[in-house]
Symmetry: D2
Subunit: 307 residues, 4 copies
Amino acid sequence: MAIQGILRPGHAAIRVLDMDAAVNHYVEWVGLIETQRDDQGRVYLKGWDEHDLFSIVLREADAPGLDYMGFKVDSAETLEHYAKKLADAGVAVERIAEGELKGCGERIRFHLPSGHALELYASKQYIGNGLPNVNPDVWPDGLKGMKPNRFDHCLFNGDSVPETVDFMVNLLDFDLTEKITGPDGEITGAFFACSNKAHDLALIHEDSKAKLHHLSFHLDSWDDIRNAADIMSKKYIPVEYGPGRHGLTRGLTIYFFDPSGNRNETFHGGYIRYPDHPCIIWEHTDVAKGIFYYGHQVVESFVTANT
Amino acid sequence: MAIQGILRPGHAAIRVLDMDAAVNHYVEWVGLIETQRDDQGRVYLKGWDEHDLFSIVLREADAPGLDYMGFKVDSAETLEHYAKKLADAGVAVERIAEGELKGCGERIRFHLPSGHALELYASKQYIGNGLPNVNPDVWPDGLKGMKPNRFDHCLFNGDSVPETVDFMVNLLDFDLTEKITGPDGEITGAFFACSNKAHDLALIHEDSKAKLHHLSFHLDSWDDIRNAADIMSKKYIPVEYGPGRHGLTRGLTIYFFDPSGNRNETFHGGYIRYPDHPCIIWEHTDVAKGIFYYGHQVVESFVTANT
Amino acid sequence: MAIQGILRPGHAAIRVLDMDAAVNHYVEWVGLIETQRDDQGRVYLKGWDEHDLFSIVLREADAPGLDYMGFKVDSAETLEHYAKKLADAGVAVERIAEGELKGCGERIRFHLPSGHALELYASKQYIGNGLPNVNPDVWPDGLKGMKPNRFDHCLFNGDSVPETVDFMVNLLDFDLTEKITGPDGEITGAFFACSNKAHDLALIHEDSKAKLHHLSFHLDSWDDIRNAADIMSKKYIPVEYGPGRHGLTRGLTIYFFDPSGNRNETFHGGYIRYPDHPCIIWEHTDVAKGIFYYGHQVVESFVTANT
Amino acid sequence: MAIQGILRPGHAAIRVLDMDAAVNHYVEWVGLIETQRDDQGRVYLKGWDEHDLFSIVLREADAPGLDYMGFKVDSAETLEHYAKKLADAGVAVERIAEGELKGCGERIRFHLPSGHALELYASKQYIGNGLPNVNPDVWPDGLKGMKPNRFDHCLFNGDSVPETVDFMVNLLDFDLTEKITGPDGEITGAFFACSNKAHDLALIHEDSKAKLHHLSFHLDSWDDIRNAADIMSKKYIPVEYGPGRHGLTRGLTIYFFDPSGNRNETFHGGYIRYPDHPCIIWEHTDVAKGIFYYGHQVVESFVTANT
């Protein structure tokens, strides 16, 4: 099949300060679906149109942030292919047994030069998207809140952007779809896709390691972005930017925060990406337009706050 | 890269009865961009967000219909891989020299069991999408009509559906995303993807060969579907169905006809498809809902008219 | 105040064959809010953004259809003004005591030349729109189904269209916003407004008396029209036309049926009407475009079915 | 007719620093239609769905701002009624001869306690909305930019808010639809309607006289708001807030500036207002939510910049 190898963002494990407040935020307001909890007290969530058992894992902790992000691959063979390729390149690869995340098969974990823990896995329990596989409707009854259909991507903050680009492109076979360049042409931001989406993962430079800038959920339309903004106002969810648009990816967006301070995004759109399209370049002089296409102004917190 | 092999629908060559009327339809009303003509009088068009030189080729002829549809592959190696794989399977493969379509590299052509001529090619002249690669805006000025961003897919009519499914899946590595089944469970319709789209090509059974049911253009939103419907009414373009929705692919749609009787579609949406998702089945008892999710009624012409 | 006299469609009393099925349709699927029942078993409903106690009254009966439609006037003085004006013109005016509709003040009832029972009333119990009057949000939580914000208008079928136009314009001071004319220029359809809306009531000729063509509910957007269409498909609600658009009023629309066969409409848009705008004329040759702007085809049932 | 007296905002006369830059802004980017110029060099514009000759008049001057705003009334009798009512109340009323604004009948001009010049007039040359009155389409070809359908309202800044409320409500018969109250319950902002719109004019307190806060243009949909935002970004038009929403009126909005510093708004939506609806109150503690429903943050310039 044309679509093979690393398929998609499959999960992000997030630290939250107060589980009840986090569940209220992510389930009642954002509208993810709680599918299970485990004996460590972790709560597993998914967007309605995701077929596997979970895509977001919440863990109560003393500080917010990202524990790790996982990508699903198409087969056990692909998992072993990357395990070997990474090891051959001198990357430390940890194997995490099936079931450590409840319902997930064996994972391999390693770290990007930017310090972020990434995982690959080939199997996760299938539960479907709430619609039958025979004669399905277009959406299931009972959706809540902002009605996200899937966990879409993460944006990381960290250093070693050029090295991380090499890693993502050469070791993990991602496509570099767009990049941000500094005054000397050096790469300070990178957008990566393993699919026809404009991005599945992004990284923007900061002098630190392993920071989460935001976690993004995909909505069906610009009107759903408006609905999400209405809910944020009604529920006093702190909004940082939006409804707005990115020049980067062309996506329609709102940035907001969960009760622990983790930044969330609701996202719609973005172009269809093919590997024979050029990498789009955003110069540091125009990056505000790239990120905040509506307004052209850098929201201060956007470059100072992460978790 | 995860996206490799056969990339996307790259062109469809369409016969029209009157070139001036066709160009008026496709350029002024549909809003494709004319990029060139050749010395045979063929007219080459593209959607604004397509980067290659053309995706639709119009040829004046005595009868409407499809000459052939071409898919772009990622490399000359892939082209040779499929040429050999097809030949090894006993499929007649014709080689068409670079430049026969102006600006297109060498193509290989073969026929599906349903009688349709398919092509693969690895190179076509790059002209970009009207936006710079550095600090681009989200759309170019000067768009017309329905503002389609790309040629999205074709739906074919023909016999030998099961054999064509085998061909598409086993020889060309497409994913069977959805299928329609008859009273005895036999497959009577098939939707194929080589990407994360819900379909790049589809085939519905009819006792004939090599018929074009429709040619589809992608729009940005449900509001653009409304705008397209306004234009069809204003310009007295014959509409067959819509604005509406498909259960199949969940896409939002209008079916209408060009002046030669070739059916067109404006299409928005459809889910993101991954190869680990199940193939969705539409039983013959519910297929009206699958095709005409709004209304559940088969429009008579939909199953009788094609070109 | 500039807005005075007859204010708006205030209620429609509808006959249904089975109350449970009707309540399920209007409350669970359409999304009206049930506010009360009375000791006759009538069920009272409203759109969420209507402030008075009810706008739709359902009565179980042996045949579907409209008992009467009522308009709210701005004051008891206005009510008496019209009672006298109608009586002076020889129109039989019936007075219906406060409380006959639970929570509604005194009504006056009379019949149009087309046979329809119209009412005027000056007071109805105020319950608000579910939002506080101090620092309100933009919509309340808990909305269901198609989320209609109000009962918008009725379309009547009946004879004596010219006489009814005289009645509406000269006795009731409505504005004739659009009209349909026959082969000899005679008026066969009329659209009336008492507000800045493109219509609050309409009448299309048929050789009968007192028929209800449809009852219309206003939605917030074209995207809500899509959502309504999704629900109609999911719940197997019979759809006659749409999503579509009218040339008349420019409104976006879907026509569908309640379980008793009463035609409903979900409606969005329409222009802002001022009395110094010309009356728009639809000639019988173009009326299909006026009614079914998308498609230009008369749906047969549209001119044969009413209640 | 129920709609009578003062009908609608009919014109605003605006000072601009550079006429060519202003015309480029209002015609090419905002998308108003230039209908004429006069021998003083004033440029007359209208939204496409306005039927009278103009609604915006641009005058080149040394400082930006509003010269006056005019409301159309339904008849010469109404004009005289208000001329007398105002004079009887001791208000100075100036009569401006027919033709002073080219194509406009006689105007009466007077000043609100807040210092703003208001006008009433009963006649203006009718040119229609670009569509025929017989069998019209839903919009005309050739629209540009943000495609505003009409000049919607002004927001004034000035002192004497309570006195201006008395003036608008008691002398001019406007409806007070919403108000902002200060710590002691005093009224600091007022929204007035002469129609079924949520506002036709508004005033927010500032210790000055006769300031223009913004001039608003109505768009057809939330998607047109997005399109307007895209154009603002593409053309580097300074944006102050939005796409966003107001709690006040519930309208969807973007605030931006013309090249002279006059604030513009693109506006969609807002509820249908009837005079028996309560006046909505926004307390000073929640006014940020009322004005900036998305974000709840006062944009600093919003309360400091006007013209």
